[in-house]
Amino acid sequence: MSAQWTGLAAAAATFAGVWAGHAGVRTIEFRAARLWPAASLLAAGGLGLEALAAIAGSAPVAAAAGILGMTLLFDALELSRQFRRVREGRAPANPDNPRHAPYLAARAFAPEGSAAPEGSAAPADPLGPAGPGEGKSE
């Protein structure tokens, strides 16, 4: 009996896609001044991989391409959700990023004990809990 490699390919693509997306979304959102170019690239890459998945002749390749394509499409949407976490103080803001500057300034001048600009939990440190490696949900 030969092994069925589709499951292993699917597992590797799932883990790699989630891991790369997890780290990549945080890094891109932290550094990029504008999100739409990166979101467009991710979406285009995702659609390309879905097209590849549809025409691939091998089941393991089709599964891996379909899964990686879907994670890229999800990451394109996740960029804006990560930006929302930054606005809410649940992810670190980048003082060198002009997109983050208004939120950092608003927090810096907010009276002690006042609500965060977006109305959610404000961190004690306006730069967030740590570097870009922190502050994203699963």
Binding site: M1, A3, Q4, W5, T6, G7, L8, A9, A10, A11, A12, A13, T14, F15, G17, V18, W19, H22, E50, L52, A53, A54, I55, A56, A59, V61, A62, A63, A65, G66, I67, L68, G69, M70, T71, F74, R90, A121, S137, E138
Partner: protein
């Protein structure tokens, strides 16, 4: 042209989405100490996928297994989020997992 690959992608979206939910519930009910139990369960599903004859079933087991392994690495981070008040924190004591004496020396993986 085949819809098998895109279907696998959609299944991954659903199963990863389910991961958001079970990680929150597992951390609330059981606690982060159960991480290695979930890692082992996820790896078992991936190994099982190798012997399934159907590519569809094998792919689904592989996705579910990898998603559970990933979720196991998120349990400690979820516990930290609950501690910060971003998620509900369970005031009741949480049960120790099996073989905790053996695994307590290992730090939970956080990726």
């Amino acid at each position: 042209m085949s819809l098998f690959g895109p279907l696998m992608g959609f299944a991954a979206l659903v199963l990863i989405g389910a991961g958001f939910v079970w990680v929150i519930r597992a951390e609330y009910g059981l606690g982060w100490r159960w991480w290695y139990v979930f890692t082992a369960g996820g790896l078992a599903l991936v190994l099982l996928s190798l012997v399934l004859p159907s590519p569809l079933a094998s792919g689904l087991f592989g996705i579910a297994g990898a998603s559970i392994v990933w979720g196991s690495t998120e349990l400690k981070a979820q516990a930290d989020r609950a501690k910060l008040g971003w998620y509900p924190s369970n005031p009741r004591p949480k049960p120790n997992p099996p073989l905790w004496q053996l695994f307590s020396r290992f730090r939970p993986p956080q990726l």
